[in-house]
Protein backbone atom coordinates (compact mmCIF):
# COMPACT_ATOMS: atom_id res chain seq x y z
CA UNK A 1 0.00 0.00 0.00
CA UNK A 2 2.86 2.37 0.75
CA UNK A 3 4.72 2.24 -2.55
CA UNK A 4 7.00 5.27 -2.40
CA UNK A 5 7.70 6.70 -5.80
CA UNK A 6 9.76 9.94 -5.92
CA UNK A 7 6.65 11.85 -7.04
CA UNK A 8 4.72 10.56 -4.06
CA UNK A 9 7.52 11.52 -1.69
CA UNK A 10 7.59 15.01 -3.15
CA UNK A 11 3.82 15.31 -2.69
CA UNK A 12 4.10 14.25 0.96
CA UNK A 13 6.98 16.70 1.53
CA UNK A 14 4.95 19.59 0.07
CA UNK A 15 1.94 18.66 2.19
CA UNK A 16 4.03 18.47 5.36
CA UNK A 17 5.71 21.80 4.60
CA UNK A 18 2.35 23.49 3.96
CA UNK A 19 0.90 22.04 7.16
CA UNK A 20 3.85 23.16 9.27
CA UNK A 21 3.79 26.65 7.74
CA UNK A 22 0.05 27.10 8.34
CA UNK A 23 0.01 25.74 11.88
CA UNK A 24 3.25 27.25 13.15
CA UNK A 25 3.49 30.63 11.46
CA UNK A 26 1.03 32.46 13.78
CA UNK A 27 2.74 30.95 16.81
CA UNK A 28 6.16 31.84 15.47
CA UNK A 29 4.94 35.34 14.69
CA UNK A 30 3.58 35.81 18.20
CA UNK A 31 6.77 34.64 19.93
CA UNK A 32 9.14 36.41 17.58
CA UNK A 33 7.21 39.70 17.93
CA UNK A 34 7.27 39.33 21.70
CA UNK A 35 11.09 39.35 21.64
CA UNK A 36 11.60 41.66 18.65
CA UNK A 37 12.53 45.23 19.64
CA UNK A 38 11.09 46.46 16.32
CA UNK A 39 7.66 44.92 16.86
CA UNK A 40 5.96 48.07 18.09
CA UNK A 41 6.86 50.88 15.71
CA UNK A 42 9.36 50.07 12.98
CA UNK A 43 7.18 47.56 11.25
CA UNK A 44 7.51 43.86 10.92
CA UNK A 45 9.87 41.62 9.06
CA UNK A 46 9.85 37.85 8.99
CA UNK A 47 13.23 37.62 10.69
CA UNK A 48 13.40 39.35 14.09
CA UNK A 49 15.52 42.48 14.13
CA UNK A 50 17.19 41.90 17.47
CA UNK A 51 16.33 40.43 20.83
CA UNK A 52 14.84 42.16 23.83
CA UNK A 53 12.96 41.28 26.99
CA UNK A 54 11.55 44.80 27.18
CA UNK A 55 8.07 43.79 26.01
CA UNK A 56 7.80 41.19 28.77
CA UNK A 57 9.20 43.63 31.31
CA UNK A 58 6.71 46.22 30.18
CA UNK A 59 3.80 43.79 30.50
CA UNK A 60 4.81 42.39 33.89
CA UNK A 61 6.26 45.50 35.55
CA UNK A 62 2.95 47.20 36.15
CA UNK A 63 1.94 44.15 38.17
CA UNK A 64 -1.42 44.05 36.46
CA UNK A 65 -0.69 41.22 34.11
CA UNK A 66 0.76 39.01 36.84
CA UNK A 67 -2.47 39.49 38.74
CA UNK A 68 -4.55 38.60 35.67
CA UNK A 69 -2.55 35.40 35.25
CA UNK A 70 -3.00 34.54 38.93
CA UNK A 71 -6.76 35.10 38.68
CA UNK A 72 -6.92 32.81 35.65
CA UNK A 73 -4.95 30.15 37.50
CA UNK A 74 -7.31 30.38 40.51
CA UNK A 75 -10.43 30.06 38.38
CA UNK A 76 -8.82 27.23 36.41
CA UNK A 77 -7.84 25.23 39.50
CA UNK A 78 -11.24 25.80 41.09
CA UNK A 79 -12.97 24.54 37.96
CA UNK A 80 -10.67 21.50 37.80
CA UNK A 81 -11.30 20.50 41.42
CA UNK A 82 -15.05 21.02 41.40
CA UNK A 83 -15.74 19.48 38.01
CA UNK A 84 -13.42 16.53 38.67
CA UNK A 85 -15.18 15.72 41.94
CA UNK A 86 -18.76 16.17 40.74
CA UNK A 87 -18.11 14.43 37.41
CA UNK A 88 -16.48 11.44 39.09
CA UNK A 89 -19.48 10.95 41.41
CA UNK A 90 -21.86 11.23 38.48
CA UNK A 91 -19.75 8.93 36.31
CA UNK A 92 -19.73 6.24 39.00
CA UNK A 93 -23.50 6.57 39.30
CA UNK A 94 -24.18 6.07 35.59
CA UNK A 95 -21.46 3.48 35.00
CA UNK A 96 -21.95 1.29 38.08
CA UNK A 97 -25.58 1.45 39.08
CA UNK A 98 -28.57 0.23 37.15
CA UNK A 99 -31.48 2.48 37.97
CA UNK A 100 -34.62 3.74 36.36
CA UNK A 101 -34.06 6.86 34.19
CA UNK A 102 -30.38 5.99 33.82
CA UNK A 103 -30.48 6.15 30.02
CA UNK A 104 -32.54 9.34 30.20
CA UNK A 105 -29.94 10.96 32.43
CA UNK A 106 -27.19 9.92 30.02
CA UNK A 107 -29.01 11.28 27.00
CA UNK A 108 -29.71 14.50 28.86
CA UNK A 109 -26.02 14.93 29.67
CA UNK A 110 -25.18 14.39 26.00
CA UNK A 111 -27.83 16.84 24.81
CA UNK A 112 -26.77 19.46 27.33
CA UNK A 113 -23.46 19.74 25.48
CA UNK A 114 -25.37 21.10 22.51
CA UNK A 115 -26.76 24.10 24.37
CA UNK A 116 -24.87 27.14 23.09
CA UNK A 117 -23.67 28.52 26.41
CA UNK A 118 -23.05 31.92 24.84
CA UNK A 119 -26.81 32.22 24.42
CA UNK A 120 -27.13 32.02 28.22
CA UNK A 121 -24.92 35.02 28.95
CA UNK A 122 -27.88 37.29 29.67
CA UNK A 123 -29.85 35.09 32.12
CA UNK A 124 -26.65 33.94 33.84
CA UNK A 125 -25.57 37.57 34.18
CA UNK A 126 -28.87 38.42 35.88
CA UNK A 127 -28.73 35.27 38.01
CA UNK A 128 -25.18 35.95 39.23
CA UNK A 129 -26.15 39.55 39.94
CA UNK A 130 -29.02 38.34 42.14
CA UNK A 131 -26.65 35.98 43.96
CA UNK A 132 -24.07 38.75 44.41
CA UNK A 133 -21.56 36.64 42.51
CA UNK A 134 -21.17 38.96 39.55
CA UNK A 135 -17.76 40.49 40.09
CA UNK A 136 -16.21 37.44 41.70
CA UNK A 137 -13.87 34.69 40.63
CA UNK A 138 -16.08 32.19 42.48
CA UNK A 139 -19.06 33.14 40.32
CA UNK A 140 -16.99 32.64 37.19
CA UNK A 141 -15.74 29.27 38.46
CA UNK A 142 -19.31 28.10 39.02
CA UNK A 143 -20.26 29.05 35.46
CA UNK A 144 -17.25 27.22 34.01
CA UNK A 145 -18.48 24.12 35.83
CA UNK A 146 -21.40 24.05 33.40
CA UNK A 147 -18.90 24.20 30.52
CA UNK A 148 -16.80 21.28 31.69
CA UNK A 149 -19.18 18.97 33.59
CA UNK A 150 -21.03 17.22 30.73
CA UNK A 151 -17.82 16.41 28.87
CA UNK A 152 -16.10 15.26 32.07
CA UNK A 153 -18.99 12.99 33.08
CA UNK A 154 -19.16 11.50 29.61
CA UNK A 155 -15.41 10.82 29.46
CA UNK A 156 -15.04 9.51 33.03
CA UNK A 157 -18.01 7.22 32.53
CA UNK A 158 -15.91 5.29 30.01
CA UNK A 159 -12.98 5.05 32.40
CA UNK A 160 -15.13 3.87 35.32
CA UNK A 161 -16.85 1.29 33.14
CA UNK A 162 -13.42 -0.04 32.12
CA UNK A 163 -12.55 -0.91 35.74
CA UNK A 164 -13.50 -4.59 36.23
CA UNK A 165 -16.30 -4.96 38.74
CA UNK A 166 -14.60 -8.08 40.14
CA UNK A 167 -11.95 -5.80 41.65
CA UNK A 168 -14.63 -3.94 43.58
CA UNK A 169 -16.31 -7.16 44.67
CA UNK A 170 -12.98 -8.48 45.89
CA UNK A 171 -12.54 -5.32 47.91
CA UNK A 172 -16.02 -5.78 49.40
CA UNK A 173 -15.21 -9.38 50.35
CA UNK A 174 -12.07 -8.14 52.07
CA UNK A 175 -14.35 -6.04 54.22
CA UNK A 176 -13.89 -2.69 52.53
CA UNK A 177 -16.70 -0.20 52.91
CA UNK A 178 -18.01 1.54 49.82
CA UNK A 179 -16.01 4.68 50.48
CA UNK A 180 -12.77 2.75 51.13
CA UNK A 181 -13.32 0.84 47.90
CA UNK A 182 -13.97 4.10 46.07
CA UNK A 183 -10.75 5.66 47.34
CA UNK A 184 -8.36 2.73 47.15
CA UNK A 185 -9.64 0.72 44.18
CA UNK A 186 -11.60 2.95 41.85
CA UNK A 187 -9.80 6.26 42.20
CA UNK A 188 -6.28 5.07 41.27
CA UNK A 189 -7.64 3.23 38.23
CA UNK A 190 -9.59 6.17 36.82
CA UNK A 191 -6.77 8.62 37.57
CA UNK A 192 -5.69 8.82 33.89
CA UNK A 193 -9.24 9.80 32.94
CA UNK A 194 -9.26 12.42 35.68
CA UNK A 195 -6.02 13.86 34.31
CA UNK A 196 -7.54 14.17 30.84
CA UNK A 197 -10.75 15.83 32.06
CA UNK A 198 -8.77 18.10 34.40
CA UNK A 199 -6.68 19.39 31.53
CA UNK A 200 -9.82 19.95 29.51
CA UNK A 201 -11.51 21.83 32.38
CA UNK A 202 -8.43 23.92 33.07
CA UNK A 203 -8.07 24.94 29.45
CA UNK A 204 -11.75 25.82 29.15
CA UNK A 205 -11.45 28.10 32.17
CA UNK A 206 -8.09 29.53 31.11
CA UNK A 207 -9.23 30.39 27.57
CA UNK A 208 -12.80 31.53 28.16
CA UNK A 209 -13.50 35.12 27.21
CA UNK A 210 -17.20 35.99 26.91
CA UNK A 211 -18.40 35.22 30.44
CA UNK A 212 -15.27 36.62 32.05
CA UNK A 213 -15.65 39.77 29.96
CA UNK A 214 -19.31 40.23 30.94
CA UNK A 215 -19.10 39.18 34.59
CA UNK A 216 -15.90 40.82 35.80
CA UNK A 217 -16.16 44.57 36.21
CA UNK A 218 -13.25 45.28 38.49
CA UNK A 219 -9.74 45.47 37.04
CA UNK A 220 -8.37 43.55 40.05
CA UNK A 221 -10.60 40.59 39.18
CA UNK A 222 -9.79 40.31 35.47
CA UNK A 223 -8.62 36.98 34.09
CA UNK A 224 -5.74 36.94 31.61
CA UNK A 225 -7.98 36.78 28.51
CA UNK A 226 -9.96 39.85 29.63
CA UNK A 227 -6.84 41.58 30.92
CA UNK A 228 -5.17 41.22 27.56
CA UNK A 229 -8.17 42.90 25.93
CA UNK A 230 -7.85 45.74 28.39
CA UNK A 231 -4.14 45.88 27.66
CA UNK A 232 -4.80 45.90 23.95
CA UNK A 233 -7.01 48.94 24.35
CA UNK A 234 -4.55 50.76 26.56
CA UNK A 235 -1.52 50.32 24.34
CA UNK A 236 -3.28 49.85 21.06
CA UNK A 237 -0.15 50.27 18.95
CA UNK A 238 2.31 48.45 21.19
CA UNK A 239 2.18 45.10 19.45
CA UNK A 240 5.33 43.91 21.19
CA UNK A 241 3.60 44.15 24.56
CA UNK A 242 0.37 42.54 23.34
CA UNK A 243 2.35 39.65 21.82
CA UNK A 244 4.38 39.22 25.01
CA UNK A 245 1.12 38.98 26.96
CA UNK A 246 -0.31 36.55 24.40
CA UNK A 247 2.81 34.39 24.70
CA UNK A 248 2.43 34.28 28.49
CA UNK A 249 -1.22 33.17 28.15
CA UNK A 250 -0.51 30.56 25.48
CA UNK A 251 2.52 28.95 27.12
CA UNK A 252 0.75 27.02 29.93
CA UNK A 253 -1.84 25.63 27.49
CA UNK A 254 0.90 24.56 25.10
CA UNK A 255 2.77 22.74 27.86
CA UNK A 256 -0.44 20.95 28.89
CA UNK A 257 -1.21 19.88 25.33
CA UNK A 258 2.24 18.46 24.79
CA UNK A 259 2.07 16.63 28.15
CA UNK A 260 -1.26 14.94 27.55
CA UNK A 261 -1.17 14.69 23.78
CA UNK A 262 -1.47 10.90 23.57
CA UNK A 263 -4.07 10.60 26.29
CA UNK A 264 -6.12 13.41 24.80
CA UNK A 265 -6.22 11.74 21.40
CA UNK A 266 -7.19 8.39 22.90
CA UNK A 267 -9.89 10.02 25.03
CA UNK A 268 -11.33 11.89 22.07
CA UNK A 269 -11.44 8.77 19.94
CA UNK A 270 -13.08 6.76 22.71
CA UNK A 271 -15.67 9.48 23.30
CA UNK A 272 -16.44 9.90 19.62
CA UNK A 273 -16.75 6.23 18.75
CA UNK A 274 -18.56 4.89 21.82
Amino acid sequence: MNRTTPLRRLGLAVAVAALLAFTLFPVYWMVSSAFDPAADHRGAAVLPQGFTLDHFRHVLDTGEFGRYLRNSALVGLGTVLLSGLLALFAAVAVARFRFRLRTKVLVMILVVQMVPLEALVIPLFLQMRDLQLLNSLLGLTIVYLAFSLPFAIWTLRGFVAAVPEELEEAAYLDGCGWWRMFRSVLLPLVAPGLVATSVFAFIVAWNEFVFAFVFLQDDAKYTAAVGLHRFFGQYSTDWGAVMAGSTLITLPVLVFFVLVQRRLAAGLAAGAIK
Binding site: A44, S246, L254, Q261
Partner: protein
Protein backbone atom coordinates in the same frame (compact mmCIF):
# COMPACT_ATOMS: atom_id res chain seq x y z
CA UNK B 1 -46.34 -14.39 74.07
CA UNK B 2 -43.32 -16.46 73.27
CA UNK B 3 -43.50 -15.80 69.53
CA UNK B 4 -43.67 -12.05 69.81
CA UNK B 5 -39.97 -11.27 70.25
CA UNK B 6 -39.15 -13.52 67.31
CA UNK B 7 -41.75 -11.70 65.17
CA UNK B 8 -40.26 -8.36 66.05
CA UNK B 9 -36.83 -9.72 65.25
CA UNK B 10 -37.98 -10.86 61.81
CA UNK B 11 -39.71 -7.54 61.33
CA UNK B 12 -36.54 -5.67 62.27
CA UNK B 13 -34.52 -7.75 59.82
CA UNK B 14 -37.04 -7.08 57.06
CA UNK B 15 -37.02 -3.40 57.91
CA UNK B 16 -33.20 -3.39 57.81
CA UNK B 17 -33.24 -5.14 54.45
CA UNK B 18 -35.77 -2.65 53.11
CA UNK B 19 -33.66 0.19 54.42
CA UNK B 20 -30.55 -1.26 52.75
CA UNK B 21 -32.46 -1.58 49.48
CA UNK B 22 -33.63 2.01 49.78
CA UNK B 23 -30.06 3.17 50.41
CA UNK B 24 -28.91 1.16 47.40
CA UNK B 25 -31.62 2.69 45.23
CA UNK B 26 -30.81 6.12 46.53
CA UNK B 27 -27.04 5.89 46.14
CA UNK B 28 -26.81 6.64 42.39
CA UNK B 29 -29.07 9.64 42.87
CA UNK B 30 -26.97 10.90 45.78
CA UNK B 31 -23.93 10.61 43.54
CA UNK B 32 -25.68 12.34 40.67
CA UNK B 33 -27.30 15.07 42.71
CA UNK B 34 -24.45 17.61 42.78
CA UNK B 35 -23.80 17.39 39.04
CA UNK B 36 -27.48 17.47 38.11
CA UNK B 37 -28.03 20.35 40.52
CA UNK B 38 -25.28 22.37 38.88
CA UNK B 39 -26.65 21.66 35.41
CA UNK B 40 -30.17 22.59 36.50
CA UNK B 41 -29.11 25.90 38.01
CA UNK B 42 -26.61 26.84 35.31
CA UNK B 43 -28.23 25.44 32.17
CA UNK B 44 -31.90 24.61 32.47
CA UNK B 45 -33.09 27.53 34.51
CA UNK B 46 -31.11 30.07 32.42
CA UNK B 47 -32.40 28.42 29.26
CA UNK B 48 -35.97 28.85 30.50
CA UNK B 49 -35.20 32.36 31.63
CA UNK B 50 -33.72 33.52 28.34
CA UNK B 51 -36.94 32.41 26.65
CA UNK B 52 -39.04 34.28 29.25
CA UNK B 53 -36.86 37.37 28.88
CA UNK B 54 -37.27 37.32 25.12
CA UNK B 55 -40.99 38.02 25.60
CA UNK B 56 -40.31 41.00 27.85
CA UNK B 57 -39.30 44.57 27.45
CA UNK B 58 -36.48 44.08 29.90
CA UNK B 59 -34.21 47.11 30.26
CA UNK B 60 -32.37 49.04 32.95
CA UNK B 61 -35.62 50.10 34.66
CA UNK B 62 -36.78 46.48 35.01
CA UNK B 63 -33.35 45.48 36.31
CA UNK B 64 -33.52 48.12 39.01
CA UNK B 65 -37.16 47.72 40.03
CA UNK B 66 -37.31 43.97 39.50
CA UNK B 67 -40.71 44.24 37.78
CA UNK B 68 -41.36 42.40 34.55
CA UNK B 69 -43.03 43.80 31.49
CA UNK B 70 -44.34 41.16 29.10
CA UNK B 71 -44.79 42.39 25.56
CA UNK B 72 -45.53 39.13 23.85
CA UNK B 73 -43.84 38.68 20.50
CA UNK B 74 -42.82 42.34 20.10
CA UNK B 75 -39.09 41.64 20.30
CA UNK B 76 -39.30 38.91 17.69
CA UNK B 77 -41.49 41.11 15.47
CA UNK B 78 -38.87 43.88 15.69
CA UNK B 79 -35.96 41.61 14.90
CA UNK B 80 -37.58 39.55 12.16
CA UNK B 81 -39.08 42.68 10.58
CA UNK B 82 -35.69 44.37 10.48
CA UNK B 83 -34.04 44.03 7.08
CA UNK B 84 -30.71 44.33 8.93
CA UNK B 85 -31.19 40.76 10.16
CA UNK B 86 -31.81 39.36 6.67
CA UNK B 87 -29.21 41.33 4.73
CA UNK B 88 -26.38 41.48 7.23
CA UNK B 89 -26.49 39.51 10.47
CA UNK B 90 -27.95 36.23 9.28
CA UNK B 91 -25.81 35.95 6.12
CA UNK B 92 -22.73 36.86 8.17
CA UNK B 93 -23.52 34.20 10.77
CA UNK B 94 -24.62 31.40 8.46
CA UNK B 95 -22.19 31.81 5.55
CA UNK B 96 -19.26 32.28 7.92
CA UNK B 97 -20.18 29.26 10.04
CA UNK B 98 -20.82 27.00 7.05
CA UNK B 99 -17.52 27.92 5.40
CA UNK B 100 -15.67 27.42 8.67
CA UNK B 101 -17.26 24.01 9.27
CA UNK B 102 -16.62 22.88 5.70
CA UNK B 103 -13.00 24.05 5.70
CA UNK B 104 -12.35 22.71 9.21
CA UNK B 105 -13.67 19.24 8.48
CA UNK B 106 -12.08 18.94 5.02
CA UNK B 107 -8.69 20.24 6.17
CA UNK B 108 -8.82 18.16 9.36
CA UNK B 109 -9.60 15.00 7.39
CA UNK B 110 -6.86 15.68 4.85
CA UNK B 111 -4.36 16.20 7.65
CA UNK B 112 -5.54 12.99 9.37
CA UNK B 113 -4.97 11.07 6.13
CA UNK B 114 -1.57 12.71 5.79
CA UNK B 115 -0.62 11.72 9.35
CA UNK B 116 -1.41 8.11 8.52
CA UNK B 117 0.89 8.24 5.51
CA UNK B 118 3.87 9.64 7.42
CA UNK B 119 6.61 7.76 9.19
CA UNK B 120 6.76 7.95 13.00
CA UNK B 121 9.29 10.81 13.06
CA UNK B 122 7.46 13.22 10.77
CA UNK B 123 4.15 12.17 12.28
CA UNK B 124 5.39 13.33 15.69
CA UNK B 125 6.63 16.63 14.23
CA UNK B 126 3.32 17.24 12.48
CA UNK B 127 1.13 16.29 15.42
CA UNK B 128 3.16 18.58 17.70
CA UNK B 129 2.63 21.41 15.20
CA UNK B 130 -1.10 20.66 15.16
CA UNK B 131 -1.17 20.66 18.96
CA UNK B 132 0.53 24.04 18.94
CA UNK B 133 -2.14 25.54 16.70
CA UNK B 134 -4.80 24.00 18.91
CA UNK B 135 -3.24 25.26 22.12
CA UNK B 136 -3.45 28.91 21.11
CA UNK B 137 -6.40 30.39 23.04
CA UNK B 138 -9.06 32.10 20.90
CA UNK B 139 -8.23 35.50 22.35
CA UNK B 140 -4.47 35.39 21.78
CA UNK B 141 -4.93 33.69 18.41
CA UNK B 142 -7.23 36.50 17.34
CA UNK B 143 -4.72 39.15 18.38
CA UNK B 144 -1.98 37.37 16.42
CA UNK B 145 -4.11 37.29 13.24
CA UNK B 146 -5.01 40.97 13.71
CA UNK B 147 -1.31 41.72 14.07
CA UNK B 148 -0.42 39.67 10.98
CA UNK B 149 -2.97 41.63 8.92
CA UNK B 150 -2.37 44.98 10.63
CA UNK B 151 -2.67 47.64 7.92
CA UNK B 152 0.26 49.70 9.22
CA UNK B 153 2.97 47.31 10.40
CA UNK B 154 1.58 43.84 9.80
CA UNK B 155 3.70 41.25 8.05
CA UNK B 156 1.20 40.76 5.21
CA UNK B 157 0.93 44.49 4.48
CA UNK B 158 4.70 44.79 4.68
CA UNK B 159 5.25 41.86 2.35
CA UNK B 160 2.68 42.94 -0.23
CA UNK B 161 3.99 46.48 -0.05
CA UNK B 162 7.55 45.27 -0.62
CA UNK B 163 6.56 43.50 -3.84
CA UNK B 164 4.46 46.49 -4.86
CA UNK B 165 1.14 44.64 -4.78
CA UNK B 166 -0.72 47.19 -2.62
CA UNK B 167 -0.62 50.88 -1.86
CA UNK B 168 1.27 51.03 1.42
CA UNK B 169 -0.86 51.81 4.44
CA UNK B 170 -4.01 52.35 2.45
CA UNK B 171 -5.40 48.86 2.45
CA UNK B 172 -7.36 48.07 5.58
CA UNK B 173 -8.81 44.56 5.35
CA UNK B 174 -10.81 44.97 8.51
CA UNK B 175 -13.24 47.54 7.11
CA UNK B 176 -14.57 45.40 4.28
CA UNK B 177 -17.10 42.73 5.22
CA UNK B 178 -15.66 40.03 2.96
CA UNK B 179 -12.01 40.46 3.88
CA UNK B 180 -12.97 40.86 7.56
CA UNK B 181 -14.66 37.48 7.49
CA UNK B 182 -11.88 35.94 5.41
CA UNK B 183 -9.44 36.77 8.20
CA UNK B 184 -11.91 35.51 10.83
CA UNK B 185 -12.29 32.26 8.85
CA UNK B 186 -8.54 31.80 8.71
CA UNK B 187 -8.42 32.33 12.48
CA UNK B 188 -11.27 29.93 13.29
CA UNK B 189 -10.07 27.21 10.92
CA UNK B 190 -6.51 27.44 12.25
CA UNK B 191 -7.82 26.98 15.79
CA UNK B 192 -10.50 24.40 14.95
CA UNK B 193 -9.02 21.92 12.46
CA UNK B 194 -6.60 20.24 14.93
CA UNK B 195 -9.52 18.75 16.87
CA UNK B 196 -10.93 17.25 13.68
CA UNK B 197 -7.51 16.05 12.50
CA UNK B 198 -6.65 14.31 15.77
CA UNK B 199 -10.09 12.76 16.23
CA UNK B 200 -10.35 11.51 12.65
CA UNK B 201 -6.78 10.21 12.81
CA UNK B 202 -7.57 8.26 15.97
CA UNK B 203 -10.65 6.86 14.23
CA UNK B 204 -8.64 5.92 11.13
CA UNK B 205 -6.44 3.76 13.33
CA UNK B 206 -9.47 1.68 14.29
CA UNK B 207 -10.09 0.62 10.68
CA UNK B 208 -8.64 -2.86 10.22
CA UNK B 209 -5.77 -2.76 7.74
CA UNK B 210 -7.20 -5.73 5.84
CA UNK B 211 -10.18 -3.73 4.57
CA UNK B 212 -8.35 -1.20 2.37
CA UNK B 213 -5.81 -3.83 1.39
CA UNK B 214 -8.54 -6.13 0.15
CA UNK B 215 -10.04 -3.21 -1.76
CA UNK B 216 -6.63 -2.49 -3.25
CA UNK B 217 -6.45 -6.10 -4.45
CA UNK B 218 -9.84 -5.59 -6.07
CA UNK B 219 -8.36 -2.65 -7.95
CA UNK B 220 -9.97 0.24 -6.06
CA UNK B 221 -8.03 3.51 -6.33
CA UNK B 222 -7.31 5.83 -3.41
CA UNK B 223 -10.41 7.94 -4.07
CA UNK B 224 -12.70 4.90 -4.13
CA UNK B 225 -11.06 3.42 -1.05
CA UNK B 226 -11.64 6.67 0.80
CA UNK B 227 -15.32 7.02 -0.12
CA UNK B 228 -16.29 3.35 -0.08
CA UNK B 229 -14.36 2.17 2.98
CA UNK B 230 -12.94 4.93 5.14
CA UNK B 231 -15.94 7.26 5.16
CA UNK B 232 -18.64 4.63 5.83
CA UNK B 233 -16.56 2.96 8.56
CA UNK B 234 -15.98 6.11 10.57
CA UNK B 235 -19.17 7.95 9.65
CA UNK B 236 -20.20 8.45 13.32
CA UNK B 237 -16.90 10.21 13.96
CA UNK B 238 -17.44 12.54 11.01
CA UNK B 239 -20.93 13.32 12.30
CA UNK B 240 -19.66 14.10 15.78
CA UNK B 241 -16.85 16.40 14.64
CA UNK B 242 -19.24 18.13 12.21
CA UNK B 243 -21.87 18.67 14.93
CA UNK B 244 -19.30 20.06 17.35
CA UNK B 245 -17.71 22.31 14.73
CA UNK B 246 -21.14 23.59 13.74
CA UNK B 247 -22.01 24.44 17.33
CA UNK B 248 -18.69 26.18 17.87
CA UNK B 249 -18.69 28.12 14.61
CA UNK B 250 -22.25 29.44 14.81
CA UNK B 251 -21.65 31.09 18.16
CA UNK B 252 -18.19 32.49 17.50
CA UNK B 253 -17.94 35.61 19.63
CA UNK B 254 -14.44 36.59 20.77
CA UNK B 255 -12.91 36.16 17.31
CA UNK B 256 -15.40 38.66 15.83
CA UNK B 257 -15.80 41.00 18.79
CA UNK B 258 -12.06 41.55 19.23
CA UNK B 259 -11.31 42.30 15.59
CA UNK B 260 -11.15 45.99 14.61
CA UNK B 261 -14.75 47.18 14.14
CA UNK B 262 -16.13 43.88 15.39
CA UNK B 263 -17.42 45.26 18.69
CA UNK B 264 -20.25 47.13 16.96
CA UNK B 265 -18.31 50.01 15.41
CA UNK B 266 -18.82 48.44 11.99
CA UNK B 267 -22.45 47.30 11.66
CA UNK B 268 -21.64 45.40 8.46
CA UNK B 269 -19.70 42.69 10.27
CA UNK B 270 -22.11 41.89 13.14
CA UNK B 271 -23.08 38.27 13.67
CA UNK B 272 -25.93 36.95 15.85
CA UNK B 273 -23.74 36.44 18.93
CA UNK B 274 -22.20 39.90 18.91
CA UNK B 275 -25.53 41.53 18.00
CA UNK B 276 -27.20 39.88 21.00
CA UNK B 277 -24.36 41.04 23.24
CA UNK B 278 -24.50 44.63 21.99
CA UNK B 279 -28.30 44.88 22.33
CA UNK B 280 -28.05 43.62 25.91
CA UNK B 281 -24.94 45.05 27.42
CA UNK B 282 -24.30 48.20 25.35
CA UNK B 283 -27.92 49.27 24.84
CA UNK B 284 -29.36 47.63 27.97
CA UNK B 285 -32.16 46.03 25.97
CA UNK B 286 -31.92 42.63 27.60
CA UNK B 287 -35.28 41.45 26.24
CA UNK B 288 -34.21 42.18 22.69
CA UNK B 289 -30.79 40.62 23.25
CA UNK B 290 -32.47 37.52 24.69
CA UNK B 291 -34.73 37.21 21.64
CA UNK B 292 -31.63 37.25 19.41
CA UNK B 293 -29.99 34.63 21.64
CA UNK B 294 -33.12 32.48 21.38
CA UNK B 295 -33.03 32.78 17.59
CA UNK B 296 -29.39 31.65 17.59
CA UNK B 297 -30.30 28.70 19.81
CA UNK B 298 -33.23 27.72 17.60
CA UNK B 299 -31.01 27.89 14.52
CA UNK B 300 -28.45 25.63 16.18
CA UNK B 301 -31.15 23.32 17.46
CA UNK B 302 -32.61 22.89 13.97
CA UNK B 303 -29.19 22.03 12.58
CA UNK B 304 -28.17 19.66 15.37
CA UNK B 305 -31.53 17.87 15.32
CA UNK B 306 -30.84 17.13 11.67
CA UNK B 307 -27.40 15.78 12.52
CA UNK B 308 -28.63 13.75 15.50
CA UNK B 309 -31.33 12.17 13.33
CA UNK B 310 -28.60 11.14 10.92
CA UNK B 311 -26.54 9.87 13.83
CA UNK B 312 -29.37 7.84 15.36
CA UNK B 313 -29.92 6.19 12.00
CA UNK B 314 -26.49 4.73 12.60
CA UNK B 315 -28.15 2.70 15.31
CA UNK B 316 -25.78 3.89 18.01
CA UNK B 317 -26.55 2.41 21.39
CA UNK B 318 -25.71 4.08 24.65
Amino acid sequence: MATEPRATEAGAAARARARAARVRALRPWLLLAPALGVLAVLLFWPLARVVLLSFQDYGLRQINTGESDYTGLDNYRDILGDSFLWTTVLPNTVLFALSCVLLTVVLGTLVALLLRRLGPGWRLVCSCAIMTAWAMPAVTGTYVWIWIFDPLNGVVSGGLDAVGAIEPRETNWFTDRWSFYAIATLNVVHHGFPFVAITVYAALLTIPRELPEAALMDGANAWQRFWRITVPTIRPVFLVVTILSTIWDFKVFAQIYLMPGGAGANQDVLNLGVWSYIQSFSRNEYGMGSAIAVLLTLLLLAITVGYVKALSREGDQL
